[in-house]
Amino acid sequence: MTEKEKMTIIVFSGEMDKVISAFNIAIGGATSEMDVTMFFTFWGLNVIKKNEGSIKSKGIMRKMLNMMNRGGAKRLPLSKFHMLGMGKWMMQKLMKDVSSPQVAELMTTAKELGVKFIACTNTIGMMGISKDALIPEVDAFAGVATYIAEAKESKINLFI
């Protein structure tokens, strides 16, 4: 059997529209028989946080950050025209009208197709996010060396 071609996607953004694009591309790669790995870092960590996960962390700045930056796939804002949530609500309605899947469903589909979710340990540590604040679907915790090792072998590498 021929080896699968690889794709990596760094998900740096925590915005709904950008994250949806990232998952669409990951799914596109997986259905084209590629091995896809998504690295979640910085604001992208919000995608892999549990919706009702713990925000416990050490230090007042981290506590403040995690309170303001709750995360969870359902809380991702739009990158433009968020309009305090009205823009996002309208966008979601438009998506529903054309049966376009929301983030949560895209994540499930991606997982079913074998896409790997990797969480960046640097930003997790910096933001004080605990492992059990993250969804169980995270396959591994890793750093940039893992990303580089994967990206070197990959045909497609993206930063979203």
């Binding site: 669409n24 054309v98 197709l113």
Partner: protein, 75 residues
């Protein structure tokens, strides 16, 4: 064109038609033909390209009142 199986993806936008196609193709035996119906015009390019990357044979597409019927043969 005749097909062994039909998949209705009318009303679904990218990437869902291809996702469902990929899933359904796993159930088919080699040489069988799958007919995919979709109304997202992206399918005109997506289906032949998907076949190219996965090695399945793209047999052609028919269009009728905005609904595209793509025929794919499993490798």
């Amino acid at each position: 064109m005749k097909a062994d199986e039909t998949l209705d993806c009318v009303g679904l936008y990218c990437p869902m038609p291809i996702v469902h196609t990929a899933k359904k193709m796993k159930e088919l035996k080699s040489g069988q033909v799958l007919e995919v119906l979709a109304d997202d015009i992206g399918i005109k390019e997506d289906m032949p390209n998907w076949c190219k990357t996965t090695g399945n044979e793209y047999l052609g597409m028919e269009e009728d009142k905005g609904v595209y019927r793509a025929f794919v043969k499993k490798k």
